[in-house]
Structures are given as C-alpha cells and as structure tokens.
Symmetry: C2
Subunit: 213 residues, 2 copies
C-alpha cells in the first residue's frame, strides 16, 4: 500500500462520493472529471490526481462510471459499514445533535449520550437514555465506540477529549470552541461556526475600507 496520502485528499473524497451519489439518483451513468469538477468547483486534474492515489477507476475517452466510482469511494472511506458514536454533552447543542436526522442514514449511529447535569441524566432523547458523564470511561470499556462527539462547554472540553482518548477513541468530532490538544494518532474535526464567521468578517471589513460597500 502506498504510504501517506495527503489529508486534504481524504477530505475531498466524501465530497466526490456525495456528488456521485446525487448523480446516480438522477440516473446519470457516466461522468468525466471535467463535469464533476464543474459541479464541485474543483479542477478536473485535481479529481484525477486524487483518484489516482487509490486506483484506476475511469475509462479513457469516456469518463467514470458513476455508480461504480461512488461505491469504490465509499469502500475506501469505510462508508459501506456502520459506525458507533457516543455524544458527550446534552445541553441545547447536544440535544440538537441527538435529534438531528442526518447522521443515521449515513451510517453514523449515536448509541450513547452523557451529561453532567442531574436534571439531564436519565432523560430519554431519540431513544437514548442520557447517562452520567462519570460513567463515560466505564461505558467506553463496555461498549465499542468508534467516534466521540464533544458538545460540552469549552471549559470541560479538553478533559472530555482526554477521557475519550484514554479510553481508546481515535476519532473525535468536536463542537466546543477550543484549540484541543490530542495525540497525533487521534483524528479530530472541529465544528466551530463562530470561528468561521470571524474569518469572513475580515473580507467584509476589507471591502468596506476600500469603499466598495
């Protein structure tokens, strides 16, 4: 197996997979890197190069079989199977995450949820009984969890992440507004809308300065 595929490439694959799946529902059977690129705002060369890390999926002169390529990508990403997730933090945000209908159909099953608030512990949301966060370490031993979701206040996030990591969780989706530190073998993705907004205002401000309104 070829070592070190750039992480940016891995992050683009789900985007391709999603677009291809969408195309199959429209009955599309073949796409060229050109078309797919136009659809996604990516250069055709980018797509071809990315795919070339994993194999040769296209037919010269024709393009890619949409369904075949979608399936290949899902296999590469591990999207053909289901994954178990544990949610830590069931405040307003955590509750929204629990109720969100977009994870399950994609094979991401939240099977445990934890909180520190006695008023929240014991409640049942979306079929899941909220447990005491103190039970988190023990629960992680008992039941295999692939991915942790962190939705606790910023001040507790690092500690929760440490607990997850110590229990062997290697993938974390973090909603807390912190610059979390974790071992290199752990993959973290941050969902941070405020940070996203704060970088866009730079451009808004810049435009106003030069009077473009």
């Amino acid at each position: 197996m070829p070592i070190e595929i750039p992480e940016v490439v891995i992050e683009r694959l789900p985007v391709y997979a999603r677009a291809l799946t969408e195309l199959t529902t429209h009955g599309r059977e073949v796409v060229s890197s050109q078309e797919l690129g136009a659809l996604l705002g990516v250069t055709p060369a980018q797509i071809r190069k990315d795919l070339s890390y994993f194999g040769r999926f296209g037919k010269q002169g024709r393009g890619y079989n949409v369904r075949r390529l979608a399936d290949e990508l899902k296999l590469i990403l591990g999207l053909e199977r289901e994954w178990t997730l544990a949610l830590v933090g069931v405040g307003r945000l955590g509750e929204a995450i629990l109720s969100y209908g977009g994870f399950y159909p994609q094979g991401f099953h939240i099977v445990e949820a934890f909180d520190a608030d006695p008023r929240t512990i014991g409640r049942v949301i979306g079929g899941i009984t909220i447990k005491d966060v103190a039970e988190l370490p023990a629960a992680l031993v008992q039941r295999h969890i692939d991915i942790g979701i962190v939705a606790v206040p910023a001040e507790h996030a690092q500690q929760v992440i440490d607990t997850l990591v110590n229990a062997g969780v290697r993938s974390i989706l973090n909603y807390a507004p912190i610059a979390a530190r974790s071992p290199t073998h752990v993959h973290i993705r941050h969902i941070d809308p405020v940070l996203a907004l704060q970088s866009m205002t730079y451009y808004l401000k810049a435009r106003e300065l030069i009077g473009v309104k």
Copy 2:
C-alpha cells in the same frame, strides 16, 4: 496595503485572537510565539510569519503584549464591531441556531429569520419573528444584512444562496450538505459534520485493515 494574504492565514487569526482573549482573562500580560504556539499546536514561526503580514506587534527579547495583540487582531478581523445576520431555514437545525447563545456575545446578531413552512412563519423565537422566505429578497433590500446563514434542506440551499448573493450578501455560513457554487467575491464557509465524520472513518478503517484494532 500588501495584496493577497493567504486565506489560511486569515482563518488562523481568529484562533489566535480567541487564545489571547482567554489569556487576558487569566491575567497573562505577555506571551512569546513559542508559548502561544504550544498552546495552539502551531509552530512559533507560523505565528510570527502570520502576524508579520499585518505589522510588528512584538517586542524582541520579550514577546507580545497579550491584550494589545488581541485588540489588534480583533481590529484586523473586524471583530470590534457588530454584524447583522439573517437566518434562512428555521427547521430543527435553524431553531437551534437561533437559540444558540454563542453568536451574540461575539457581535454576531441574527436580526431576521425566514422559513417556507406556513406553520413556522409568524412564530417568534429568541425575539425574532419568522418571516416568509418569499419576503427574503425584499427584506434584504430594506435592512442591511452582512452575513446570511443557510439552514434549509439541501435541495433548496443553492437557490437560497443565489437569492442572498443577488441581494448583495457577500458572506454566507452554510449548514446545508451541498457543494455550493457562488461568485468569487462571495465568501462561504461550510458547516458539515457528516463530511467531517466521513473523512475520519478513512483512518479508522485503515487502522483496522492493518490489524491495529
């Protein structure tokens, strides 16, 4: 003014600003790029280089004045002022966004909200009356909106984005799972937890293949 500061640099500034603000609350007066880097998992050289695009904020032999640098960064990013936002889509997700307490204190004020569902239109959430999305274009003319938040189902997202762009909105925070196309002068940030999960499974799967469990 120097042209073309890399976008990645702009995206790191809010991270620095947040850490510095945090440090000020701890009474910290001076930091070196070394310390700040350790805190954020970034190299000191990275921080110094990033800052050098905007000026000379440090003192050789000492480091940076925490409060001063925090203020400078906020000024650069436009975080000293308040910004008006309009939310489009007040389903479960949109409602969570409206109720989320993290935007307002950072100067991001959601002042309008729109939906297509007659049962939702007219409701009041967080002091805001939900309007009919059909009124969106007119409302954008009437009231200045800096940033649009898109939280509609995927199939309507592109159309909503187009409407926002046509009305002159230049910054969009998109929660819909689509690869949106927009003019280059418009800045879009995507919040897409499923995509984030789908790229992490690659590494989970890879580890399992080589038997690391």
